[in-house]
Each structure stands twice: as structure tokens, then as C-alpha cells.
């Protein structure tokens, strides 16, 4: 029997040489792989972010409507005017409540999927959570408008259950109520909750999946009731997932300008303010200043979360 060689001959051609070189110098390979995306991120993404930041330090001449390219904090002063501050507070409150509600709704779903769903049930879970993401966002939002409208299906259900008085009572509550659900903050909230829910469920499920059953058993073994196990073990360990999910729900709500335009009262949210200032009003500096607000809020939010130990389980 002929012995096979201990070391085979080099591969032919340029590709063979390149493979050998890259195998010997893995950092070179890493560099080659990373350079294009880093350029993309660095120049296109971060660059435009900084351009935006720079814009916010310019101002607009109120009479001529011409942008003055001189560094000033005048635009930020404008941002703090009561009308604009209202927009910021309104958007932040909405984003906060959508996030909290999404976390509450998502937890049982994520827990079930992580702990119990196997095989085809798991596939069904992923399908169920992701399916809404496959269809157009606009279609979903308009569908919700039809559901929530005065002539919509929800009203019809309440009417047939002879519960219209309940809906009316709810709608008469100041702030969250309105003429109908489709023109109230409650409606905006419901649509936000629906549209962003998958972004909360998936990271939560991933975090819960990493919690071994033995931790829960150990907790029960040491005398903890299910509620105690939840608050002392499961929730803290799910926290990184909750934070990851809330980054999505919170920032997506902060920046959205379509949902409150279609479903909701006519009061503006940050996204709409950015949209109208950079569009019809032509006030790019103020639009930029508005766009900086979510960045600051998110930075503050993450800093708080870190201080509270939300990432300890990572």
C-alpha cells in the first residue's frame, strides 16, 4: 500500500496562496472582514449622526427663515419652550408606558416559549411572534384604525354586549380618553404595544432560555414560593433580556411619527415634530435638536439601568 504524504502539496493558484496566508495571519482576515462594515457604520451612520448633532447647534433666522451657520444654543433654548417640552414629555411618557406594558404582556409568552414549548410548538411560537413583522407596518396600523374607530369592530362588540356605557365611561376619562379609541392616547398606546411587542418577546425569551431549570428548583428547594422565586431569581436573570427588549420598544416609540399621526389625537410626538420641522417648516436646526432628545433619553435610561444592576446577570 502506498503511503499518503504527511504534508500535502500547496494548493494551486492565487486562492490557494491566499488561504495559506490568511490561515497564518488570522488578524488580517478579521481586518478584511471588518473594514467594510466599520466604514459603513463609521462614516455613513455615525457621520450623519454627528452632522445632525452639529445642525442642532445652528439656528434659524425667524424673519428670513435662513439657517445661520454660527454655533449657538438658541435652538436648544427653543426646544425648552413649553409647547416643545410638552411634546417631549408626552412622547417619553408614551414610550415608558408602552415599554412597561410590553414587558408585562411579553413575559408569560416568552416564559412559556423558553420553558415549555418544544418542537412544533416552538416553531409555532416563533411564527406567531414574527408573523406580524412580515406584513407592512402601514397595513397593520390602518387595520388597527379600523378596529378602534367609532364604526369599528370593537365598538360593535361592546354594543352587542350592551357594554357601550363602559366604553363611553372609559373614553370620558380625561387624557387617556377621547371621542373614540382611534383618536385617543389609549388607541395610540394599543397600536404601539401591538407593533413593538415582538421586539420585547424575542430578547426576553432568549434571556429566559439561558436560565437553567435547576436555578428555579434550587430556589424552591431553599424555601422560596413561586412568587419569591420569580422576584429573586427569574426576574433578575431575565433582566438583560427585558432591558434589551425595552431598548427596542422605548426607542422605537420615541422615534415613531406614523402611528400617532394615523391613530391618536392631533397632539404631536417627537417623531412628528422632527418630520414637520425639517419638512414644511424648514427649521432643520430645531428638527435636529428634537432628534437629539431620544438619543439623550436612551443614554440616560441605559445609564440608570446599569446603575440599578440590570446587567449584573450578564
Amino acid at each position: 500500500m502506498a503511503e499518503s504524504p504527511a504534508i500535502t502539496a500547496p494548493r494551486d493558484g492565487v486562492l490557494g496562496t491566499v488561504s495559506d496566508v490568511l490561515y497564518r495571519r488570522p488578524t488580517l482576515l478579521l481586518l478584511l472582514l471588518l473594514t467594510p462594515p466599520l466604514l459603513w457604520l463609521g462614516i455613513i451612520y455615525l457621520g450623519s449622526l454627528f452632522a445632525l448633532l452639529a445642525q442642532s447647534f445652528f439656528s434659524i433666522d425667524e424673519f428670513s427663515g435662513v439657517i445661520q451657520y454660527r454655533l449657538t444654543l438658541k435652538t436648544y433654548g427653543e426646544l425648552l419652550a413649553p409647547a416643545n417640552l410638552d411634546i417631549i414629555v408626552r412622547t417619553t411618557l408614551m414610550a415608558g408606558s408602552v415599554t412597561v406594558a410590553a414587558a408585562i404582556v411579553a413575559f408569560p409568552i416568552a416564559y412559556y416559549a423558553a420553558r415549555y414549548a418544544r418542537g412544533k410548538w416552538k416553531a409555532l411560537f416563533y411564527l406567531g411572534v414574527m408573523l406580524p413583522l412580515w406584513s407592512s407596518y402601514l397595513v397593520k396600523v390602518y387595520a388597527w384604525k379600523l378596529i378602534l374607530a367609532k364604526e369599528g369592530i370593537l365598538n360593535w362588540v361592546f354594543e352587542n354586549l350592551h357594554l357601550t356605557w363602559l366604553l363611553d365611561a372609559y373614553l370620558s376619562i380625561p387624557v387617556i380618553g377621547g371621542n373614540s379609541l382611534s383618536v385617543s392616547y389609549s388607541g395610540t398606546f394599543l397600536v404601539f404595544l401591538y407593533v413593538w411587542l415582538p421586539f420585547m418577546v424575542l430578547p426576553m425569551q432568549a434571556a429566559l432560555e439561558r436560565v437553567p431549570v435547576s436555578y428555579l428548583e434550587a430556589s424552591a428547594d431553599l424555601g422560596a414560593s413561586p412568587l419569591q422565586t420569580f422576584s429573586k431569581v427569574l426576574f433578575p436573570l431575565a433582566m438583560p433580556g427585558v432591558i434589551a427588549g425595552s431598548i427596542f420598544t422605548f426607542s422605537l416609540t420615541l422615534g415613531d411619527y406614523i402611528i400617532p399621526q394615523i391613530v391618536g389625537s392631533s397632539r404631536l410626538f417627537i417623531g412628528q415634530a422632527v418630520y414637520s420641522h425639517q419638512g414644511t417648516a424648514g427649521n432643520i436646526p430645531l428638527a435636529a435638536a428634537f432628534a437629539v432628545v431620544p438619543v439623550i433619553i436612551m443614554g440616560f435610561y441605559l445609564w440608570m439601568a446599569k446603575r440599578q444592576g440590570a446587567f449584573d446577570a450578564l
Binding site: S214, E217, A218, S219, D221, G223, L237
Partner: protein
């Protein structure tokens, strides 16, 4: 001796699989009891039934005379050392140890004192502020032990407690566990697939196979007087001589077990055998012998005359070393 744990016709079925099949078992107070068996033999399920993580399909497990049917784990005064230790990664070592006390709303200062004491007991004084991830496997094991023991359980359950440790550490921990059990006087029930561990540590051993208990007895009992082929093979890998051969030798038609160390190399008499495998184990040399197409294992003194692969030798054993297995059901 009071009864600590009692199994009354306990079965646990998972669909068609009978993980535990009609087990009767009594464990006395203060006993160091081992559940020994291969994986899937039902030993871990039995442990989980005592802890309350699982409920029997039929039968009843009682702890100190009280039925545990439907009682959740958090109401049982029983604590577990988990195979993967299950230390909470988000809590410090001290908080892990004090977890049970925190749940019972013991004051913070008292908690810290007891936790420090427990850590000292397992030779981890000063490690309280660390996270479990900063400890070695052996240290995590001690923390898991301390965490269970601070609750002063009536029964301590240990699920393959030494499985993840390397040999030297394992031997150290075996000794420590035994000492701990002697000083505390708590009933220890531990699950293992390592027969050496079971024999060296336990007061009594239950040998499991396919959801049933094959034999319960002292380590000497199950080692020297196995009641079945399975026990003979599993505990110390005994030779099992078929009943026909035993009939020739003793006139009784039952299978018999023969310990490898009982097989001796003799100058004359006995049986002729060929060495078909030889492995040096340090203190002894393990031989695989072929006699008339039958395989026989022997453990002989390693310092004796050099033995070689394929060498022909004569082997024999004392008649009383042949243990007849009358109630063979394996």
C-alpha cells in the same frame, strides 16, 4: 433508628417510560445513603421525588412519617446540592449561602453571620463577596453545600455531587462529606453512578436498574454478596460464571459471581488461561483472561513476576470466593 425517608410502592412514569417502577425503600435517620446505578436507572428521579421537584405517579414518599403527596418543594425541610450546583449567578457567594435565610426573612445581620459561619465550615472564609463565576468547580461545590446546610435540613440530598470534579478533588471531598455527615448527624442521600464513591462513602447502598431497586445493603453486602448478575457487574465489575459452569464446580445450577481480585495465578492446578489484555493500574495489574472461550477478569499484584500479553498462565480461586446468586433476577 427512626425512619427519615420511606418509599411505599412508588412509581413515576413519563408517558410509557417507567422511570421509577414500584420502589419500596426505607432510609434511616442519620444514615449516609447512596443511590447507585447507571444513567436512566431512576436514581435521580427518586431523589427528585424526595425533594419534591417531581411527584410520584403511584405510591407515596414520606419524610419522617409525613406523606409528601402534593407538598411543594418549598414546604419540605429537605435541601439539595445540585449536580450543576445551581448557584445563582447574579448573587454574591454570601447571598447565595444566605438565600434560604433571606426567604425566611431572617434579619440581615444574622443572615450575614450565619453565612460567614457556614462558609468557614466549608473552608471558604473570606470568599463571601465574590460571584460564583469567580470560583473554581470545587469551591462552587462547597458553596452549594453551605447553601443547603444553613437551612438545617432534616435530609440533605446530593445529586452526583462530585461528578464534575477531578479525581484528586473528588477524593478530598469524599472524605470531607463523610466527616461533615458524621459531625452534623443529618441524613444524607446521595445519587451517584460511581460505584467506588458509593462504596467508600455510604453506610448503605441501593443499586438501581431500569427503575427498580436490585439490591439494598451495606457496601460489603453489595460488593461481596451481589444478588444478581446486574449488581455483580455494576458494583466492582465482578466476573459472572454461568450456571452450567457453576454446576460443574459445585453441583448447584445457579450463576455465581467471582471478584477479579479473588482470581489468583497459580503454578499448577486450576485452569489454563491466556492473557488477552493487560493493563497496569499502579497498585495492581488488571488482566483479561480467556478460558475455554470464556472471558475472566483478574486483578493481580502488580509487583509480581512480569506478565505479558498472550502469555499462557494457570489461574484458580478459593471455593468460598465464588458467591452463588440464588435470587438472580437480572
Amino acid at each position: 433508628m427512626k425512619t427519615a425517608v420511606h418509599f411505599e410502592k412508588v412509581s413515576r412514569h413519563f408517558g410509557d417510560v417507567k422511570a421509577v417502577d414500584s420502589v419500596d425503600l426505607t432510609i434511616g435517620e442519620g444514615e449516609f445513603f447512596a443511590m447507585l446505578g447507571p444513567s436512566g436507572s431512576g436514581k435521580t428521579t427518586c431523589l427528585r421525588l424526595i425533594a419534591g421537584f417531581d411527584q410520584p405517579t403511584f405510591g407515596d414518599v414520606s419524610i419522617f412519617g409525613e406523606s409528601t403527596n402534593g407538598i411543594p418543594p418549598y414546604r419540605r425541610n429537605v435541601n439539595t446540592v445540585f449536580q450543576d450546583y445551581a448557584l445563582f449567578p447574579h448573587l454574591s457567594v454570601a447571598d447565595n449561602v444566605a438565600y434560604g435565610l433571606m426567604i425566611r426573612k431572617v434579619a440581615k445581620q444574622e443572615r450575614r453571620r450565619v453565612a460567614d459561619e457556614a462558609l468557614e465550615q466549608v473552608q471558604l472564609a473570606g470568599y463571601g463577596a465574590r460571584k460564583p463565576s469567580q470560583l473554581s468547580g470545587g469551591q462552587r461545590q462547597r458553596v452549594a453545600l453551605a447553601r443547603a446546610l444553613v437551612n438545617k435540613p432534616r435530609v440533605l440530598l446530593l445529586d452526583e455531587p462530585l461528578g464534575a470534579l477531578d479525581l484528586k478533588l473528588r477524593e478530598e471531598m469524599q472524605e470531607e462529606l463523610k466527616n461533615l455527615q458524621r459531625t452534623l448527624g443529618i441524613t444524607f442521600v446521595f445519587v451517584t453512578h460511581d460505584q467506588g464513591e458509593a462504596l467508600s462513602m455510604a453506610d448503605r447502598v441501593a443499586v438501581f436498574n431500569e427503575g427498580r431497586i436490585m439490591q439494598v445493603g451495606t457496601p460489603q453486602d453489595v460488593y461481596h454478596r451481589p444478588n444478581s448478575e446486574f449488581v455483580a457487574n455494576f458494583v466492582g465489575s465482578s466476573n459472572v460464571l454461568p450456571s452450567e459452569l457453576v454446576n460443574e464446580l459445585t453441583g448447584k445450577s445457579v450463576p455465581a459471581s467471582l471478584r477479579p481480585e479473588a482470581v489468583k495465578i497459580v503454578d499448577e492446578g486450576g485452569f489454563e488461561a491466556e492473557i488477552v489484555d493487560i493493563s497496569f493500574l499502579g497498585a495492581a495489574t488488571r488482566l483479561s483472561l480467556k478460558i475455554d472461550g470464556m472471558r475472566l477478569h483478574a486483578l493481580v499484584d502488580g509487583t509480581k513476576a512480569a506478565l505479558e500479553f498472550r502469555q499462557k498462565v494457570r489461574v484458580d480461586w478459593d471455593a468460598e470466593d465464588l458467591h452463588l446468586m440464588y435470587d438472580n433476577n437480572g
